[in-house]
């Protein structure tokens, strides 16, 4: 296997009143979609800004594509693409102009520039609106244009900070497909920040969970979910001595309610159910209802941090409102 493309060691950023990033270490492998998951204020955006050399760390080392990001920030900037959390396209310019500006700033040769921009706009299905002012674009189109803008230098690494925040489910799905396609067609390494568990689950090969500046755990979604303990199977039955008979079969019960409902801790629940039903029947147990609950990343988050990720959701709503407000004011 090739060397890790991003290596971060003991990364720390201290602000006067808060330790935004606290001794974070991780690495990202070639061709991965890597995500940082955590609530607002966990230090994800600060981490991305540190990796992109926008701000300087208080302590720690960052190596990106073999370059020391602190010593050679320009190498990193030339190779990376960035879609910030907030707006990065200018509403007072057309879609085409927004991309043209960045292609010039990245120093792309003027020969073939227009064709290259048209190609990118075509790839993101924005060609028909390319000559319109960006202020007339919908939220999803703006996001796509921002991705187009980030692709203009053909980045080896793409950083996306909350790529689908504030988008409707349809637009979200379009962005997810796009990110996957980028990885498949160009082998782009994608680094995303998200507070959305579904997004992390649907998109990322590996996830680092961040809370209050610390990286609490890291692994593939499946690994992380397995670390919570497994699936919970709930059985309802009116047969007397039901719980004892289930235990006799060698299962672990977590809870047991007097009205004949028990929770079992199992692994691969969906594959287990048919066998379990069979053996319960031979024991003379009549099962009335079965339900299976697979662990979610929220359970993972709860296990490692002691709080639910949604606890910060109201915060995110506020920010979304603020973002809309800003757009309206443009």
């Amino acid at each position: 296997m090739a060397e890790s493309e991003i290596i971060v060691q003991d990364l720390t950023k201290v602000y006067p009143r808060v330790k935004a990033v606290d001794k974070v270490s991780f690495s990202v492998e070639p061709g991965e979609i890597f995500g940082l998951l955590g609530p607002n204020g966990a230090g994800k955006t600060t981490t991305i800004r540190l990796l992109l050399t926008l701000i300087k760390p208080t302590e720690g080392k960052i190596s990106i594509l073999g370059f020391d990001a602190l010593a050679q920030p320009n190498k990193v900037r030339q190779l990376a693409g960035y879609v910030p959390q907030d707006v990065s396209v200018d509403g007072e310019l057309t879609g085409f102009e927004n991309i043209l500006m960045y292609s010039k700033l990245y120093g792309l040769p003027s020969r073939g520039r227009k064709e290259a921009i048209d190609e990118i706009l075509g790839y993101l299905e924005l060609k028909v609106r390319a000559k319109d002012m960006v202020s007339t674009y919908s939220g999803g189109m703006m996001r796509r244009l921002e991705i187009a803008q980030a692709l203009v230098n053909r980045p080896k690494l793409l950083f996306l900070d909350e790529p689908t925040i504030g988008l409707d489910p349809g637009a979200k799905r379009v962005i997810w497909e796009l990110i996957k396609r980028l990885r498949e067609e160009f082998g782009t390494l994608v680094f995303i920040n998200t507070h959305d568990m579904n997004e992390a689950d649907a998109l990322c090969d590996r996830i680092g969970i961040m809370n209050r500046g610390k990286l609490v755990t890291i692994g593939s979604p499946a690994q992380l979910k397995a670390s919570v303990g497994g699936d919970v199977l709930t059985l309802d039955s009116k047969t007397s001595g039901f719980a004892d008979k289930v235990r006799e079969l060698g299962y672990t019960t977590i809870t047991e309610s007097p009205n004949g409902q028990i929770d079992l801790l199992v692994s691969n629940g969906e594959r287990l159910i048919p066998d379990l039903m069979e053996s319960l029947k031979t024991k003379g147990i009549e099962v009335e209802a079965v339900s299976l609950k697979k662990p979610t990343l929220d359970d993972v988050f709860l296990k490692y941090t002691g709080t639910k990720i949604e606890a910060s959701e109201s915060w995110i709503e506020t920010r979304r409102t603020r973002r809309t407000f800003r757009r309206m004011n443009r």
């Binding site: 707006v87 700033l105 120093g107 002012m133 800003r326």
Partner: protein
């Protein structure tokens, strides 16, 4: 990064500022309201009073270069607000993630302010012609005036940009802009000659870059007396170079 690409990046930023102006020219007209009031109301009244000795030239002739400079200064000094605004929106984050050096971004933004200043100047000059202020508008003179305006716009937008990382919010920058512009305007030779000022005010006017700009433009557009032109331009060049440098240093702290 090569010097060629450095300058190319700065010019690119100015180019897109120009494109923005082309998409929406209303800003130029809106910003011409204030200079129009100065020329039409203040200028008319003060011409009647004849309280200010403007030599062989009419008072309106005397004040037009002053109002021209003032309108460019207003455009430039509020440039720091634009920078804070772009930071709040996220545009600046994106810009800083490119390989373009910070100082080239500052230079580009300063040039943009200069470009905006030129269009503001065209509006004011047009207005002056409409109200029949006699100005010597030979091609060479006008080109020289434009060069001075670009430098002046760069100088004051850099001053404003160097304050942006310190004051950080749009509201404070607004206040600072107003706190700077009016005193500088009154402590200059824009609407009355230095000879009328008390000693303390003259002392301020002499170190005020606005005075040199007005003096140079007055020489080019009205008096034709070029004796202090070289000195004026040199003073402006020094002030501009100093302000762009300070802004470049200060700009590193814009995101913290």
């Amino acid at each position: 990064m090569s010097l060629k690409r450095y300058l190319f990046s700065a010019f690119t930023l100015a180019e897109f500022e120009l494109r923005k102006l082309r998409h929406d020219t209303s800003q130029i007209w809106l910003r011409s309201v204030q200079p129009a009031l100065w020329l039409l109301v203040f200028g008319t009244v003060f011409s009647k009073i004849r309280g200010i000795t403007s030599g062989p030239f009419s008072y309106r002739q005397f004040m037009t270069p002053g109002i021209l400079a003032q309108s460019v200064m207003f455009v430039a000094i509020f440039y720091g607000i634009t920078v804070v605004w772009e930071r709040d929106l996220g545009l600046l984050n994106k810009l800083l993630s490119t390989p373009v050096p910070r100082s080239a971004i500052v230079l580009g933004k300063a040039l943009s302010a200069g470009v905006r200043g030129i269009f503001q100047a065209i509006a004011v000059l047009g207005l002056a012609l409409i109200i029949r202020v006699h100005l010597s508008l030979s091609l060479l003179n006008v080109l020289c005036v434009f060069v001075i305006i670009i430098l002046f716009g760069m100088c004051f937008s850099s001053l404003s940009m160097s304050l942006a990382p310190i004051f950080r919010t749009r509201e404070r920058m607004m206040g600072i802009g107003q706190a700077i512009t009016m005193p500088l305007f009154f402590a200059s030779n824009a609407i009355y000659p230095l000879s009328l000022m008390p000693g303390w005010l003259k002392a301020i006017a002499v170190v005020n870059p606005l005075s040199y700009v007005v003096d140079a433009m007055r020489a080019l557009l009205v008096t034709g007396d070029f004796s202090s032109l070289a000195q004026d331009i040199l003073a402006l060049l020094i002030a501009t170079a100093a302000m762009v440098t300070i802004a470049s240093l200060s700009f590193r702290k814009i995101l913290v």
